[in-house]
């Protein structure tokens, strides 16, 4: 008997006492808090993101480029990577501020290799969802966010979230996401608590996370 058949047969024997059919537990309860207002949800999101020692800047759509450039300057980032689908207006305002803007294209014409990514200071992306109760941003790596490695290897990640993308609680976010996409949930910069449970920001992922919250 193959391992597959043997395991499945053991499991069928082990669950002989179960009489209900699969799926009979009914609807999955959606246990989530509800925000008082969209404004309160945004406040909570900004508060919780900042609580993770990420910076939060709130601005109007017209100011995104300037706010992103300022965040890059604060971290002294000279080279910045932008995914192909990022808003061209933001990209040109970065170029205008004298930052070296790079695309995800290596010397051989393919995407950048990991060691090439390692030489880049920062990355700027959009996001898919923001979660207020946890201070989380979720990327689904569509073209405005780039593939997963881009937001991982450079040491600074500037992430632009639109106010209408922010939901109140975790189940609201799960309901919006497409599981066929790769998904990355980010709550603050890379961190560890492995040494005497002292929280230290910055291990392997970006050590600086700047969230730009765009309100109409």
């Amino acid at each position: 008997m193959s391992a597959r058949e043997e395991i499945l047969s053991r499991l069928r024997t082990a669950t002989r006492d179960v009489t209900t059919p699969a799926g009979s537990r009914g609807e999955i309860p959606r246990i989530a808090t509800v925000g008082d207002s969209p404004g309160a949800t945004l406040e909570l999101f900004a508060e919780n993101v900042a609580d993770y020692r990420a910076t939060v800047q709130r601005c109007s759509p017209a100011d995104v480029g300037g706010v992103v450039a300022a965040a890059l300057a604060r971290a002294a980032a000279h080279t910045v990577l932008v995914p192909t689908g990022l808003d061209p207006a933001w990209v040109s305002s970065l170029r205008d501020s004298g930052i070296r803007v790079l695309a995800d294209e290596g010397e051989d014409g393919g995407p950048l290799r990991a060691d090439e990514l390692d030489g880049i200071d920062a990355v700027v992306t959009a996001a898919r969802v923001g979660i207020a109760t946890t201070g989380t941003i979720v990327l689904d790596h569509e073209p405005d966010q780039g593939r997963r490695a881009l937001t991982l290897v450079p040491d600074q990640h500037v992430c632009v979230v639109r106010a209408d993308q922010v939901v109140h609680d975790v189940p609201d976010a799960v309901a919006l996401l497409d599981p066929s996409r790769p998904l990355t949930w980010i709550s603050g910069p890379s961190a560890t608590s492995d040494i005497e449970l002292d929280r230290v920001e910055g291990v392997h992922g970006p050590r600086t996370l700047d969230v730009v919250l765009v309100e109409p």
Partner: protein, 493 residues
């Protein structure tokens, strides 16, 4: 492995470890309480979490087949492993086929359980642990002592020493001027591991959840080492216990509220990665999933015991356990320490060995673990259930059964009891307040407990003396208003 009681006795003498553990568990308990307090409907969430896991476990063949179908449809290769040997062989074959000399690893209990690193090393393949705590454990030639923070028994000075002594022999050495500041130690790990991340072609991970209705695997972490392993190498092998299955993607709405708050005491962990088979042009282009039984089907067959398979490895039960806090994780003789280990190990491995026989007794049955468990595993009841099994298997000749028979004989007649008590007070007078560490003949009981020093006189002796000293004051039968009388203990005899 020796019995828990013997190993715990040695661990108790390690004052450094006891101090580290007391600090760590107190810190994490306070953090957890604060963030759990933020959730109004925590109890409902726990019930929903338990229901999701029970739905999966009760219909495990159905959901595993669904998971396999969806994974395969999305370009992953699914393997099934009956036991540790089979799982290790599958992983080794894949690594060999890729002609890789090394693999990078995301912290994974399942691969520790099957001792994958050791098997790979025997075959000449280096397995690098990339979680900071696992790195400390690996470089220190040590064993993990906690599910979530495996190096919790080490303090910063010890970690600095390990890094300075060991890093150079397996890669980039620790900086010359390394101090014991946590930020500097984390920086040293970053530099040491980055060269391994950038060159690795094969990664090995576990999974926190495997979603049946979509084929999605989920890894929850903090440092970004998980994202590195799950993203940069060409080939990814995930060893997944068959109990990790969740029926629906929607269930993540429940689980991702329960897990981080219960484990690290955070609203959300810094990074969660989800992938569904192969994503064209993004991340590993060859994805393998090894579905591991290794005793789990045996646990599932026990109608009461199967709830242990709900465990999402959050470690909340460890942090509230008075026994774990003092004994530490090593005494449990397994990668699964603490209250969950005390029920999971004897179920997964059977109760043949000294350590597995002793684990159901590694508890005071105070119930704190059940209160803390986000998926409502009734650990105290299962401990008692397993104690019954252990005693039954020992055919009634266990030390406990013997001493219970002796106790029944003694309590059966008041003269025997009085004689025993008089003998005890004699001991008490001889000891003069010192603590009794062990009593000959009560080995099994006193191995893990100090015996209270016997009083200098028994209640009965005190009573008799008091009556002698003050005959008028001592009550005889107490006269009640209705004319009946209650008796003193002595008159009852």
């Amino acid at each position: 492995m020796p019995s828990f009681q013997r190993a715990a006795k040695e661990a108790l003498a390690n004052t450094q470890q006891r101090r580290n553990l007391a600090h760590a568990t107190a810190t994490i308990r306070a953090k957890r309480a604060a963030v759990v307090g933020e959730v109004d409907r925590w109890e409902e969430l726990r019930v929903a979490g338990a229901d999701a896991k029970d739905e999966a476990l009760h219909h495990l063949p159905h959901y595993l087949e669904q998971l396999e179908t969806n994974l395969t449809a999305r370009g992953a290769t699914v393997h099934w492993a009956r036991d540790a040997d089979e799982a290790n062989r599958i992983v080794l074959d894949i690594v060999r086929a890729k002609e890789a000399q090394e693999v990078v690893k995301v912290k994974s209990m399942a691969t520790q359980e099957i001792e994958l690193n050791e098997r790979l090393e025997e075959a000449g393949i280096h397995a690098w642990e990339t979680d900071l705590a696992e790195l400390i454990v690996q470089l220190g030639h040590d064993r993990p002592s906690h599910i979530l923070v495996p190096a919790i028994h080490r303090n910063r000075a010890e970690i600095r020493e390990i890094f300075r002594r060991e890093m150079g022999s397996v890669g980039r050495p620790a900086p010359e001027d390394l101090t014991d500041e946590p930020a500097r130690l984390a920086e040293a790990a970053r530099l040491h591991l980055r060269e391994k991340f950038l060159r690795a072609r094969v990664a090995v991970s576990g999974a926190n959840f495997a979603i049946a209705d979509t084929g999605t695997l989920v890894v929850v972490e903090s440092e970004g080492n998980g994202r590195m392993c799950l993203t940069l190498p060409e080939t990814l092998i995930s060893v997944v216990g068959i109990e990790k299955v969740l029926p629906s993607f929607e269930d993540l709405g429940t689980m991702l509220q329960l897990l981080p708050r219960s484990s690290t005491g955070e609203r959300m962990n810094p990074y969660t990665s989800m992938w569904t088979g192969v994503h064209d042009g993004d991340g590993p282009q060859e994805v393998h999933v090894v579905l591991l039984d290794n005793g789990r089907s045996h646990v599932l067959a026990d109608e009461l015991g199967r709830q242990a398979l709900r465990c999402i490895r959050c470690s909340a039960c460890l942090n509230v356990c008075p026994v774990y806090e003092r004994a530490g994780g090593h005494a449990y003789g397994s990668v699964y320490p603490g209250p969950i280990g005390a029920i999971l190990n004897p179920q997964l491995r059977g109760t043949g060995s000294e350590v597995d026989k002793s684990l159901p007794y590694a508890s005071s049955l105070c119930g704190a673990c059940f209160e803390a468990c986000p998926v409502r595993i009734d650990i105290p009841t299962l401990l008692v259930h397993l104690r019954t099994q252990v005693v039954d298997e020992a055919s009634g000749r266990s030390p406990e059964a013997t001493s219970m028979r002796a106790a029944a004989w003694m309590f059966g007649d008041h003269r025997r009891l009085e004689a025993a008590q008089r003998a005890a007070t004699l001991g008490g007078r001889l000891l003069g307040g010192r603590t009794l560490r062990s009593v000959p003949g009560l080995g099994a009981w006193t191995q893990a407990r100090d015996v209270p020093t016997p009083p200098r006189e028994t209640f009965r002796q005190w009573w008799a003396r008091r009556r002698q000293d003050d005959p008028g004051g001592a009550p005889g039968p107490v006269r009640q208003q209705d004319g009946t009388s209650t008796t003193t203990p002595e008159e009852e005899t």
